[in-house]
């Protein structure tokens, strides 16, 4: 849900004199401020949900919220810190509540530099954005550029059907011969990735949007020329995609997925359909709502709010997946 809409919902039934706010600071175990930490402030009764990021001083604000009880959550990208969920805080009318969130170090075992989410965070922190406005392609916002993907840190898990759940329960989690990554097979949309930050070079032309990236198969193409989705598509790990514009938002529909791919941990069915909505909300950010609808595997659509951050100084680096030694060694 877009922050602006969330704020509107919070204000309904709450006059400006009644609204409070909750602000805070996120620090690491050394007491240093954490930049770009994803923060969620949600009402304990589930009727409000505000999301933001910390600034360079580690600070965040959830402004103009109705009096009530709220929980602060911080989920950093994998894998330096543990997810954080605070105890409920009471915000009164016209109150400004302050909190300090101290992140705890991870207890998740990773090898040196095998933390793509954390590295993406570092790329964002060191980027230099030029002082430019967003260009236009055929009078639409130009999506071209080098982007790094940030997943929805607060996404709900998919809701599988009983059959899909049984497939997952039957798998041996230690059997890496069934692990798509270990087999160098593509990961999930919108951009597959695993060992590296999910970087993608978007090349936006009037009739085609090409997304180049480092993991297999290395590219996606979204046709913008008005063609329909194929009636009998050749199964593809990343499906077949067409896009249409709704104002300045690009709506991408995809079908024809190879059922060997996954939805999270769950299997896909031939009925899987993907809808993505891309909006370049500022020069350095592309927001994405992604909806996976698969009546063969899910009881309801799986919705996530992701975004891409522009990292113009970063190049793509060739990634040929060849030596997953665990699998080769029969582990």
């Amino acid at each position: 849900m877009r922050p602006g809409l969330v704020i509107l919902l919070m204000l309904l039934g709450c006059s400006s004199s009644e609204a409070g706010s909750l602000e805070g600071m996120v620090v690491n175990p050394d007491g240093e401020p954490v930049y770009h930490a994803p923060v969620r402030v949600s009402g304990v009764d589930g009727d409000s949900d505000y999301r933001t990021y910390t600034d360079r001083d580690g600070r965040f604000v959830a402004p103009r919220i109705a009096p009530g009880n709220y929980v602060v959550e911080v989920v950093m990208p994998c894998c330096r810190y543990q997810p954080y969920r605070g105890t409920p805080q009471t915000v009164g009318a016209a109150d400004v509540e302050s909190v300090t969130v101290e992140l705890a170090p991870t207890d998740y075992l990773i090898a040196l530099s095998d933390d793509p989410g954390q590295l993406a965070h570092e790329l964002i922190a060191r980027r230099a954005l030029p002082d430019r406005v967003v260009g236009r392609v055929s009078d639409r916002p130009d999506f071209s550029g080098m982007w790094v993907l940030e997943d929805d840190p607060f996404a709900e898990d998919p809701s599988p059907t009983d059959e899909a759940r049984k497939v997952v329960e039957a798998r041996d989690p230690d059997d890496l011969s069934q692990d798509l990554f270990a087999l160098c097979l593509p990961g999930e949309l919108p951009i597959p990735g695993a060992s590296t930050p999910i970087l993608s070079r978007f090349v936006h032309t009037p009739d085609l949007l090409v997304m180049l990236f480092e993991g297999p198969p290395g590219f996606r193409q979204v046709f913008l020329d008005g063609r329909a989705l194929p009636e009998h598509p050749n199964p593809a790990w990343l499906g077949h995609s067409v896009g249409r514009w709704e104002g300045d938002t690009l709506v991408v529909e995809s079908t024809g997925f190879d059922v060997r791919g996954r939805i999270g941990d769950y299997p896909r069915s031939e009925k899987m359909r993907l809808t993505e909505r891309y909006t370049r909300t500022e020069y350095g950010m592309l927001e994405l709502e992604i909806v996976v609808d698969d009546v063969g595997s899910l009881t309801e659509p799986w919705i996530r709010q992701m975004h891409f951050d522009l990292v113009p100084q970063e190049p793509l680096i060739e990634f040929v997946c060849e030596n997953n030694v665990w699998v080769q060694a029969g582990e």
């Binding site: 402004p63 990208p77 894998c79 997810p83 969920r85 302050s98 300090t100 998740y108 040196l112 030596n323």
Partner: protein, 145 residues
């Protein structure tokens, strides 16, 4: 600061209490890393409860995706030599943190800390490397001592 901060500045009577929240995070059930970027778990192969710190000589480096592997001859207490294999992240990630394919070379005497393979083989997931220069390179976790 996010765009909404301006709305809150100095606009209302303030009743302010500073609350220092608990240090340790609570990993609530079903509240973990998003499946979309779920990564294979090293815990399936390596055991954080079997830490090691070893010194030896690099014999070979495989600078390949999705994981760099390097091999080290370690002299043990009885004078024998054990041939260990160590795993790092992707070259694409290491390069973005200042490594190159020349950071480790055959013949380098190094110290490695990490977690050993669960099956007891001479393999480990690396948490830190100390180079011949004395420089130590760490990952997200500090070395286990």
């Amino acid at each position: 600061m996010n765009s909404f901060a301006k709305i809150t500045s100095g606009s209302k009577r303030v009743s302010k209490r500073s609350i220092l929240l608990a240090v340790l995070a609570i990993a609530a059930a079903g509240f973990g890393f998003s499946p979309a970027t779920a990564h294979h778990s090293f815990s399936a192969v390596f055991d954080i409860d079997q830490p090691f710190e070893l010194e030896g000589v690099v014999t070979r480096v495989e600078w390949r995706n999705p994981h760099v592997w390097f091999y080290v001859d370690v002299q043990v207490e009885n004078g024998e030599t054990e041939a260990w294999a160590f795993e790092l992240g992707s070259p694409n990630a290491l390069v973005r943190r200042g490594w190159s394919h020349r950071t480790l070379n055959a013949g380098d005497r190094i110290t490695v800390t990490g977690a050993r393979a669960r099956n007891g083989s001479l393999r480990g997931a690396v948490l830190s490397v100390t180079l011949p220069s004395g420089e130590s390179l760490f990952g997200a976790q500090r070395p286990i001592r």
